[in-house]
Assembly symmetry: C2
Homo-oligomer: 326 residues x 2
């Protein structure tokens, strides 16, 4: 009896590649795509480059996240980093390091979503790497390349006292979604409203990718992707710029009210310390552009304050046993 | 009593970054280095990009390979792929996905060697990613970027009947070194000569990186990095170009004789199917350039032959349970 292949061990590497390459569309910027020793891309005079990895059991759980969710999250994490420099993402390289017992369906569905979402965002999947891993390991990784299109990169060190502190995108929703899942919520539940938005944002976040270029064009003085929490990432701008980021409760009121519906008294913690949000935090010397909302001001000093009270940096630290210390 | 930190869990992410960033030298091509959301590189009109990962227990064993060995091998794998396009490597991004119980010394020594070797090769470490992994997992990954400096990329599909087949670099040494280790050889033994060269080439391979650019300038019609074995990689050129690669025993005699000293009757298998060698295999319509040696000819047909006898593709396949089938 002939059965269809169920795991990576049932197909050869070249057979697997033949199954997933069709998901990756070409583009005018891609001179040589997947299948040779390396990809060849047409690039501008400055290229932005970043990389981020996700590993099963640490960055996602199969009980909660589908392969499509993982592809979406991995792509968003990387493209948000490119956007936070003021650049437009152009290409990604994708790596899969997998136990040969990994389900073939998982890999095919991951590749299908990655290809589809990249294509929707005008990003080409230029190449990648397949490697086998010891039992139980499944790791996916993306390197994203972007084009500044002649703009200067927006770094973390340009915030000055008197600049506005603004955010584009949601706050605390990924952390609230995680709290719901940890509390037993069904990741596939037919929720609606803010509860559904929080679950979805944790599992398959979107990011305001266009806003990176917009902020750069509007003269943003500093910018960062909110991957490790508003406080921790705010501290990064504060430290790099030699300033204080003073957050205003009034500016955060609407975000807080929405989160309180979902996680009640944990709302402040989600808002201030929740990671993996991938919204953009920036400072502006001049007017804050459309779609950005002011949540504070840059002051002389150091660190981050909320309503004038100094906040210890907390949020996600990858290795620290006592997460929350920096 | 104060003790020095022993594992990644004993230091914060930012503390770890402060320890390893000094190993990464800047360069004129690096506008923004490690520490912001993404790196910013000055690039030419075409950029070559590739990525490769190594995971402990599958791509290396701690009993055999030092962190310095792993850094060297990972860098060589990636830079050889860039060279095989005819490009010069300019920058790398580095990822570490590690169990927090990973030894801090391991990570520091890995970063130190990676920075040193990259610098020696004129390649800048532009950025990377740190992530935590489940118990026991240690994975390192590099994305390499290169510049074609105005040359056309050398693909796999340009070999034509009558072209010479040539190699630059060693053959079969990594596989012979692996066979020695599997036979109980001490990876730190004070060996000399060809035995030492095979052990070293398996643990910390070097590649003829300059020869990629040289071959492109000499008009190579096809080129590939020998990562999965002469037969398997030869088949890749044969298939992409729609030709036969006819290997000549006379051209391989010296390589074979050297390997026979080390692995006796396994020499042919190491030479033909041994992976991770990272020498360059190319075809030339005109004269074979200095430093390259002719090992066969391109013929009409398909596949790879040795002395006229068809050879099944064999060599490393990442996922296949019965390694050797393609």
């Amino acid at each position: 009896m002939v059965t269809s292949p169920r795991t990576l061990a049932d197909v050869s590497e070249s057979d697997l590649l033949r199954r997933i390459f069709p998901f990756f569309e070409g583009s005018a910027s891609l001179a040589v795509g997947p299948g040779d020793d390396a990809a060849v891309l047409r690039t501008g005079p400055t290229t932005v480059a970043t990389t981020d990895s996700m590993i099963r059991g640490r960055d996602w759980l199969d009980e909660w996240s589908s392969p499509s969710d993982v592809a979406t999250k991995l792509l968003t994490q990387n493209l948000a980093d490119v956007a936070a420099m003021g650049a437009t993402s152009t290409a990604v390289l994708v790596s899969l390091v997998a136990d040969p017992a990994t389900s073939l369906d998982w890999v095919v569905e991951f590749a299908r979503t990655l290809g589809k979402r990249a294509s929707d965002l005008g990003v080409v999947v230029a190449g990648g790497d397949l490697s086998s891993a010891p039992e139980g390991v499944l790791m996916v990784s993306v390197t994203a390349l972007g084009d500044l299109e002649g703009r200067e990169p927006v770094l973390r060190n340009g915030a000055r006292p008197g600049h506005a502190v603004a955010v584009n995108g949601t706050l605390g929703r990924s952390a609230a979604g995680l709290a719901l899942l940890e509390g037993g919520a069904d990741p596939r539940e037919a929720a609606s409203g803010i509860r559904a938005a929080c679950l979805a944002h944790h599992l398959r976040p979107s990011a305001p990718l266009h806003a990176g270029r917009q902020a750069a064009e509007a003269g943003a003085s500093a910018m960062i992707d909110l991957s490790d929490g508003l406080l921790r990432d705010g501290h990064r701008i504060a430290e790099a710029s030699g300033v204080r980021i003073a957050l205003s409760p009034a500016g955060l009121h609407d975000d807080l009210a929405a989160l309180q519906e979902v996680v009640a008294e944990a709302a402040w913690e989600c808002l201030l310390a929740g990671g993996e949000e991938h919204s953009l935090l920036a400072t502006f010397a001049r007017d804050v552009p459309d779609g950005w909302r002011t949540i504070g001001a840059v002051e002389a000093g150091d660190g981050v304050t909320l309503d004038g009270v100094v906040q210890r940096p907390r949020g996600w630290d990858h290795f620290s046993a006592q997460n929350g210390n920096d």
